[in-house]
Symmetry: C2
Subunit: 268 residues, 2 copies
């Protein structure tokens, strides 16, 4: 009964989020259906456990999922290729790897990395409409970048948690938080932490944008961290700018570390 980890990518626009919900299209449901078909489970559910949820509309370049193959010894190359044939075009499997039975996509994860993309120029772009949040007003990006650095360290993110959120701890250890100006109006906010509360990245970005617009002082981010009240932080930025880039696990697992042709190529 080997346990297998998958590196899953999806374009979030046509999903009602990650987690299974009755009556709407979710990443989990599409993946479990594809796994059931590939493993010929005969209608029995093959449970896919995600590293964490992503909201409706949020993308993933490196979501990690585990499942148990129920006694079957799988050729990982055939598994990837087969799932990519079954899955809809807005989902794909980048890699698969056998992991120890104690591995858990959510609880074994050490760090999650997200990127939030902003297009900051007067005119919208047809090419970036699905991946960037468009802000036509000039942003003081240097103030935003400086404020972003204040997030690094262990803080209570209660103010950056959506009010209808679950009950996990709001203490997060942020290891990286930086705003990069890539030129031509393209900004990237990159954040990595051991844990994220619900809607955290989008609320952080919403607050940073208000700082950049001059609607609030750059000290507001720290004030919200210490004040722990949702109303102290800014609005929730739109989902389509956000992408779960990667999830990291203990090094000794060597999860998805080999280069792309090795990790799931036919020579494995």
């Amino acid at each position: 009964m080997p346990r297998i980890a998958l590196k899953v990518q999806y374009s979030g626009g046509k999903f009602c989020g990650c987690q299974y919900q009755l009556g709407v299209r979710t990443v989990q449901e599409e993946l479990e259906k594809a796994l059931g078909t590939f493993l010929r489970s005969g209608g029995r559910r093959v449970k896919a456990v995600f590293s964490g949820r992503t909201d409706s509309g949020v993308h993933a370049a490196g979501q990690v999922v585990h499942f148990d193959s129920d006694g079957q010894d799988l050729d990982l190359w055939r598994l990837c290729w087969g799932l990519n044939g079954i899955l809809p075009e807005d989902m794909s499997i980048a890699a698969a790897q056998v992991v120890p039975p104690g591995f858990h996509a959510r609880f074994s994860a050490l760090r999650r990395s997200y990127v939030y993309r902003i297009l900051n120029r007067p005119q919208r772009s047809a090419l970036l409409r699905h991946t960037h949040s468009f802000i036509p007003m000039p942003l003081a990006t240097e103030s935003m970048a400086k404020a972003a650095l204040e997030l690094v360290g262990q803080h209570d993110f209660a103010a950056f948690k959506s009010t209808n959120a679950d009950t996990t701890t709001t203490i997060c250890r942020v290891e990286k938080a930086e705003l990069l100006n890539l030129g031509e109006g393209e900004l990237e906010f990159r954040i990595a932490a051991n844990h994220f509360v619900y809607n955290m990245v989008r609320i952080v970005v919403g607050t940073l944008v208000e700082i950049g617009l001059g609607k609030r002082p750059s000290t507001d981010l720290v004030d919200a961290l210490t004040g722990r009240q949702r109303h102290l932080a800014g609005p929730t930025a739109p989902p389509w700018g956000l992408c779960l880039e990667s999830v990291e696990y203990p090094e000794e697992l060597e999860l998805f570390t080999s280069d792309s042709f090795q990790e799931s190529g036919p020579n494995k």
Copy 2:
């Protein structure tokens, strides 16, 4: 009657190419409709002249178009903003500039630059499906890169012209042709020339890919250039990997050279 140049972007997937054709959706028709609405032309056609055609499915980040505003003095900021409000979401205007009456989007152009994007790894990607051509078999990218360099210079591209093509000259002066390996299986073929024949970039890429797959020797590119027969070159690569990056004009026009907030921001 000022003449105005527009920098136009579009995501090609849902267009039957650039040039007006009865009964199908084209970039030209959508743009001319939007111009007519904005200029209140009362149903009279506002003719948009393109720097060149792009095929069905091909994208543009920097297509250039000119039109005559028929006596109206236009606020360029309002023009951009207005057109971006009228145009469908898969088209946008990045910038607008008044040009001399003798300017012609096609005939004044000195150089066009295209990029062709390839995803070369065993597994497809949901995130790159609209912008990259997917090639799961390993490619000998070094041979491809070396062969690509042979394109630089003035050559007869008759072998790289689609057979149902128009009758312009097949002599093109290629100023840049390079294959870049961006890592994680992402390849970019970048080519700039004074002129391109119909389907040229896609046939060049189709030939390079066959060289990379070992299906043909790397000398085939040069042999096709000298042999001038379509059958000597490879197949036409799919359109969705191709993007018209930019069109360059004489420097004294200073077309779209200022930074994005200046070029069409409200302070202009």
